[in-house]
Symmetry: C2
Subunit: 146 residues, 2 copies
DNA sequence: CGTAACTCATTAGCAATGCTAAATACCAAC
DNA sequence: GTTGGTATTTAGCATTGCTAATGAGTTACG
């Protein structure tokens, strides 16, 4: 396999990417639509939006959190009316967690707010720069999920 | 000014960028070189590396943290031998915080570790994808600092 | 079968890290 | 000099993560 990224230019790109992603990520995290929801709670709702429904254990793995932490997060989300818990069809140890309509509305609002913030920021770029970013967006998304 | 980013494709790109950056940022955060240092402590050291030295109040503002939190962070860093505290030349209320040589070594190691992790991840991309990312890296960095 | 080993979720208790309010020390302006 | 403002710290609390241990349920194997 060709070693794509171990030349000097690529090392610079990696470093640049790292610092930019970390800083942008931190700034995005602060753009919250509902102060009463922690970033992890939002993230769990986001995962549920992608997966439809999942067990607490699956959620814990996907969020890189230990199962007991997920237990509490799910309990808090349920108390806020943002997720629903149903018995697992095949395994009575597990539960199925799914989001409510209320959660969907909040997620949409949150995505919109962060997107708007990011779009505003992107107004500071010129057309050529923006084109490069557009081309790279799907790649970055793939990278994040590798 | 042409409204570069308010068409459909660009909205998709913004959304894609947002979710990728948030996820990648979270994953990068977990790549720590020294488990005994919190992300904020690392960040303070990074800020000190850029600024040379600063008062606790300045650091608190730059890190978006309240002054009492910074007091504790600085105290912990001092206990670990990573920062030095000196009296402020003009104002006896304030102190000057600066990093030690040990802190510089750790910062470099940390950057290297995160870069290596990211570079490994990038091995999962093909050449064309990687090229797009390389082109976008400086733009992303500019965006993050806007 | 039935028991042993495993898995999932939860409970209990702890550590880290942020916050606010109040206290302390100092500066500055009148 | 007194009064008001600023920098830092102290004290106490909330949040959010963790590990260890428990309980309930499933699976595999004799």
């Amino acid at each position: 396999m060709p070693d794509l990224i171990h030349d000097g230019d690529s090392a610079a790109a990696v470093s640049s990417l790292r610092s930019a992603v970390m800083l942008l990520g931190r700034r995005l995290k602060h753009q919250r639509v509902d102060e009463s929801l922690s970033p992890t709670e939002m993230s769990v709702l986001g995962t549920l939006a992608r997966c439809g429904s999942a067990t607490p254990g699956e959620l814990a793995r996907k969020e890189h959190v230990q199962p007991p932490s997920m237990t509490r997060i799910v309990a808090l989300l349920e108390a806020k009316g943002l997720v629903r818990l149903e018995p697992h069809p095949d395994d009575r140890r597990q539960k199925m967690v799914s989001r409510t309509e209320q959660a969907e509305a909040m997620l949409a609002e949150s995505r919109d707010k962060r997107n708007a913030w990011l779009a505003d920021l992107a107004e500071g770029l010129d057309e050529e720069e923006w084109e490069k970013l557009r081309a790279a967006a799907p790649v970055l998304e793939k990278l994040a999920h590798l």
